[in-house]
């Protein structure tokens, strides 16, 4: 292998691992957000959440 091939392999593996990490965190975020929304739609509230505060969804 040439030196360039080693450099390419190192950058390629790094890009793959970091991309996978980012996508995994994004999927986790989206799934939790969806669960929270479902629970709120069913009228479940957290204890610390005042009765009249209405919708307090994750994020926006």
């Amino acid at each position: 292998m040439t030196h360039a091939a080693y450099v390419f392999a190192a950058y390629g593996i790094s890009a793959l691992v970091i991309a996978a990490l980012g996508i995994w965190i994004l999927i986790d975020q989206a799934a939790r957000k969806r669960e929270l929304k479902e629970l709120e739609q069913r009228g479940v509230r957290r204890r610390s959440q005042p009765k009249g505060s209405g919708k307090k969804g994750p994020g926006k």
């Binding site: 292998m1 450099v7 790094s14 069913r42 479940v44 926006k60």
Partner: protein, 262 residues
Amino acid sequence: MGSGMTDATPQASTLSGRLTALANPTRFLALADRLVPWLGAVALVILAVGLYTAFAAPEDYQQGATVRIMYIHVPFAWLAMFCYSLMAIAALGTLVWKHPLADVALKAAAPIGAAFTALALLTGSIWGKPMWGTWWVWDARLTSVFVLFLMYLGIIALTRAMDDPGRSARAAAILTLVGFINIPIIKFSVDWWNTLHQPASVFRLDGPTIHPSLLWPLLICALGFTLLFLTLHLMAMRAEIWRRRVIAMRRLSARAAERAAR
């Protein structure tokens, strides 16, 4: 935005007041929502600049083109130790101050730290083959970083072993603090033992020994990857807080259903 942001308390202007305010997960979520897009964007811009300058920089007179691996290998190794140090501080936050977000920070950081440690090992190995003539040697630096990787895996397993996050928090914090002994061992392994891995060339008492033309791109890349790490950590913490809310709300609704059935 959550309602937690609207009630400005008088002590919020002092530093301790601000730290206390941050202990409120709702306030933390609001802060993370505002920070993540900016932090992520700045990280990507700095990384782009860093990698561009890294490939524009001259090749090393001994290593040739393989010196380019250094621009990612060194930041990954630095993040492997930075992340663990951050987790050790979070462990203290759990054990000493009982900060409600400390365990969230520790648990969310572990997989990210493990990924960067694995990358430090992999990129180092890929550099080692053409430069040392071997993918791997069991010298003190490589072995201690491999131990760090195993520590990360252990902490990941422990933080996810129990359904109740409150119960695993203490165990994970203690394991993290015990494992922190490895961080100075990694840092000084190249001085204490005769290693194939080269000694420090950036953070030295007598100043860096890398030529500025190679050092600057390295520092920019390190900053970019650090900001990327912080962005990912904030996102993972946010997801973890939401996960715990879902668990708490499910428990509440199950209890309410039980009461209604009686």
